[in-house]
Subunit: 269 residues, 2 copies
């Protein structure tokens, strides 16, 4: 998907909400466990109930890999369901991959071609030749980890590298890579106060912002410091939406939580 | 597997060779493509021909994910074949994973419990709480990226962070994490001259060293600077061994290349 199509969706739906599909069989309603594919059944119900309120879905691959072949099949069914029924919705494989060039190309093929995602998250530690293979795919985005929402972000990301914090080095350096217009960046909502500085380095790029809700990030703060002329934000909520209820009404409860966030977003636009 | 069992194998086989099972359908012998599962057929033939010459196998997950469900099934069959027939051999899922705590636990379960690997490679960018969930598994190793074999390693890893290169910060900091005795580290053979400094920080840890062969690393140099009293090295070769021939004799050709390396290793022990 082109960036412009994503922006069009945001304006149409008055939402820049991304819903994280991080399915844990210990947390989904018990009645779904009797079925053939509880992970997909859960995702389908959530998508059916919330697709008009969000512009993106983001399955985190860890939650699918943990269930082996069955998990991988559920991931495939989920992305196919989205692409078949809601092709206007932006899809993110939250996979945090990255390897030497040749191998990164294999990952890019897996997520962009085989599964058909619009974007994939990638870790920057291995540098330019581990990220450029992803950037080479037309109308696909590579979402680079910059400043993550967890406490461990302070171990290395905020350390000063040659006078500048590492995450800023990552932002600055990545701008020089081939096809860098296909980059987006992960910046945790729990670190909204850093967004002003981040916008000085990458004023135009989209940011994927996890950490609103369960992790404690604040939507208004993120908008205040992170929004640009094209909105430039995809704010993700996972647990706060998909596990709003464990009863049979879980999908309606998820839609209600999603709508609360969508209304807050509409007020910011 | 315990570290001691790995050391015992190294001494018994006079080898610290790890063979990378990076299966690319464009590179394997054509006659295998007619079969039901060419990836597994290739791996099985390579394993049958080389298991007495190496102490570890390392499938890189990218090469399996690129083939979707079929690739994941081939990976599962490969690790099961190894665990059933050669339980003394050490297995590495070269996955370069890492996510926020809860999610890293899902990855750890996927590779350690569901698939039954002895170890998994992990990226350090997200810090302590992204790595410790892997370290919590008993008799499993977490192999942290420190200094990788690719050119992109110079983008961030060798930059100076608060007066010390980032990869050294990663090594030093990781020693303070819970269950850090379960850590090993990736150090590329193409950067053998860095190994002396690295051994000052982590004298006792095992290093997984890719980059010998196709990428240009030198075995003797790696041993000179990297070996410790328990050997402390797993030297990986992928393409140089598994693609030694594309004919029907590919497995014998792979065994010959593996034996050349094993004999060089025996001379270093």
């Amino acid at each position: 998907m082109t960036t412009q199509k994503l922006i069009d969706q945001i304006q149409k739906k008055k939402s820049f909400l991304c819903i994280g599909l991080d399915v844990d069989l210990n947390k989904i309603p018990k009645h779904l466990l009797k079925g053939d594919d509880p992970i997909f059944a859960f995702n389908k119900a959530i998508i059916d109930a919330t697709h008009h309120l969000c512009v993106a879905y983001k399955p985190n691959t860890a939650f699918y890999e943990a269930y082996g072949i069955k998990g991988w099949q559920a991931l495939e069914k989920t992305i196919n369901y989205l692409n078949d029924n809601h092709p206007e919705i932006y899809t993110i494989a939250d996979a945090k991959r990255g390897d030497i060039g040749n191998t990164s190309t294999m990952y890019a093929k897996a997520f962009f071609e085989d599964l058909g995602f619009d974007s994939v998250t990638v870790a920057p530690y291995m540098g330019k030749d581990s990220v450029e293979p992803f950037l080479a795919f037309k109308d696909k985005h590579t979402i680079l980890l910059a400043l993550t929402s967890n406490q461990g972000a302070f171990d290395f990301q905020t350390k000063t590298v040659d006078g500048v914090e590492l995450y800023k080095q990552v932002l600055e350096t990545s701008k020089s890579w081939a096809n860098s217009e296909n980059l987006m960046y992960v910046v945790g909502a729990t670190k909204a106060e850093f967004l002003g500085d981040i916008r000085k380095i990458i004023p135009d790029s989209f940011l994927l912002v996890p950490g609103v809700g369960a992790q404690g990030g604040n939507l208004q703060e993120v908008c205040k410091y992170g929004m640009n002329d094209s909105v430039g934000l995809l704010i993700n909520s996972s647990r706060g939406i998909i596990y709003a209820s464990q009863d049979e009404n879980f999908a309606e409860a998820a839609a209600q939580k999603a709508e609360e966030l969508q209304l807050q977003m509409a007020a910011e636009l």
